[in-house]
Symmetry: C2
Subunit: 345 residues, 2 copies
């Protein structure tokens, strides 16, 4: 791609020379400011087009007081959870011609502070903070000169605004689906109880079951780790506690993978004998499962988009105030759930 | 975090007022330019510290002709391959106080062009281009006003500089390890033959086997898909072609997961009867495997770091010229490989 007939980045000086006007006149014409004769303005714009001149965004930033940049700070090393959030945010920001500085703190407060200082020195218009978990985290700062919105993580400061997935609703969705498929003895194998997400998903499940007159099979949720290995262990514990289970709702797709593997080895057919639902809709895990996994998608792209829209509104002077907004999850149905098989009844 | 005793972003005007000097004097002191008495300079710097004044990076950029920003363009939606590359690049660039604009093209040439224009308008010092595959791609532009380096993807234009993982060497590593473990009938199940990475890994394997007097078991590499499902299918094809295989080298960890599952179902113990090596060192896949998977790590962080260092050198005026640099892979040994079991012989 040739950038300019000049063979280098054209400057406003080149445009002025080509149009036969002063630099001041060229500047007025390009910025749409000041009084100029229409033909002069047109001559400058034609010269700019011909030379491939692009206004210097830096200089514009100094003039307008806005830089049309936003900082994205993540503690997740841009991992599985923060990336979809980031892509959703990029969609919303890109539509507003805003570029995104990415800053990875790797969960290190010193790196976080350094990135924050750098972003402020670069005069970003606002900051998005994202993470790998929905756990509340300390505010990145309450007296910052630019608006901040949290996505997929939440600030402990009630004056900050956070957008997170609705884990409680996700647990409800999965459970309603299993009930609709005729399942009644539904176990729950999930991550560590110290995770708010694990507790909320279990609570959502419990509430839907209670309304239908049921309880979590096997005596309650089995809290453990976010791993396949725990899924393999947990399902054996569950089968001992309640051998007649007809469904398992898992707190993550990785756990569900381990559960699927052991159910198969124990001769339980999925979904005929036991239906299986995961959480995350982690494509590679869910589709690679035998059979492919029904799972709860957290709509992380939407989490990012909504957070970015709130940030844009705050930049424009319409801050949301403090609070937490939960984005609904969505059930993705694959082969691991189905109606109770006639043979199984 | 309170930014300033003023309750807003302090300007050079505030610093000058606090130090009792003119704005011009404050500027000289802060930029280390011009002649000033040491005590004046010290008074300005003290005032700046006290007010939490940070020089405006935008204004500095206009003065120095450098913005200390770099654009990172990816076609991978910041996926599994581009993220480690990006983190490595961020390490190298961050050390040079450079901030990174992220631009996701989602494999769309129109988005790519838009991002490129935006980055140039923002006067980035250089551009990194990364992708999800090592396949050659069209140059992003050969007459750009800033240097460009490709990472984890390569430009078809020989005047561009690209940094990619050494897939051929990765195939060699895996095969040498299996030979050292006493394996002799080694099959290869991998991705589509149209992928350069799949061909190079198979070539590396073939060369090491040939030097030791062996061939790929089962009549040659089984090219298929980059999926678990293909691993499950491929290993049955391989077992029919050569029932006595004692090892399988897989072109990806996902393929290896499918192979492991079926080997277990066919009563073949891993690693006692059949050793298994994957490719990618995709942590969740490799560690979740039963048993955990020995695999080839492409050192993508190093790919990103080296690419960023070449970009920094080019920005400083020391361009590398065109060419492709291959970064060595690394074997990560877990339980799926081991010496041939005494029982198995």
């Amino acid at each position: 791609m040739s950038l300019s007939p000049l063979g280098r980045v054209p400057t406003i000086r080149d445009v002025a020379a080509a149009a036969g006007v002063s630099i001041g006149t060229a500047s007025k014409a390009l910025n749409g400011r000041g009084k100029l004769r229409p033909e002069t303005r047109e001559r400058v714009l034609a010269a700019a087009r011909q030379l491939g001149f692009r206004p210097n965004t830096l200089a514009q930033g100094l003039l307008s007081g806005r830089t049309y940049t936003v900082g994205l700070i993540t503690s997740d090393s841009f991992g599985r959870f923060s990336i979809p959030v980031m892509l959703g945010a990029e969609d919303a920001l890109g539509a507003g011609q805003i570029s995104v500085f990415m800053c990875d703190t790797r969960d290190d407060p010193i790196r976080e502070r350094h990135h924050l200082q750098t972003l402020l020195a670069r005069r970003v218009d606002g900051i998005l903070v994202t993470g790998r978990r929905t756990e509340p985290r300390p505010s990145i700062g309450t007296e910052l000169p630019v608006p901040v919105v949290y996505a997929m993580t939440q600030s402990t400061d009630p004056s900050d605004f956070s957008v997170i997935p609705d884990d409680f609703g996700g647990g409800q969705l999965a459970t309603r689906h299993l009930l609709a498929m005729g399942r009644r003895r539904i176990g729950h194998i999930t991550g560590p109880e110290r995770f708010q997400a694990a507790r909320l998903r279990a609570d959502g499940m419990r509430q839907v079951l209670a309304e239908a007159g049921y309880e979590i099979a096997g005596g309650g949720p089995l809290f453990g780790e976010w791993s396949e290995e725990w899924g393999r262990q947990g399902v054996d514990i569950l089968l001992r506690a309640e051998p007649r289970i007809d469904a398992v709702f898992c707190g993550s797709d990785q756990i569900a993978r381990g559960v699927a593997e052991i159910l198969r080895e124990r001769g339980r057919r999925i979904p005929d004998d036991v239906a299986l639902v995961g959480f995350d809709n982690w494509e590679a895990m869910a589709v690679g499962c035998r059979p492919p996994l029904t799972t709860v998608d957290m709509n992380l792209g939407e989490v990012g988009r909504v957070a970015a829209e709130h940030l844009l509104a705050a930049i424009a002077g319409n801050a949301s105030g403090g609070g937490v907004k939960a984005i609904p999850c969505q059930l993705v149905v694959r082969e691991s759930t189905g109606p109770v098989s006639p043979r199984a009844n």
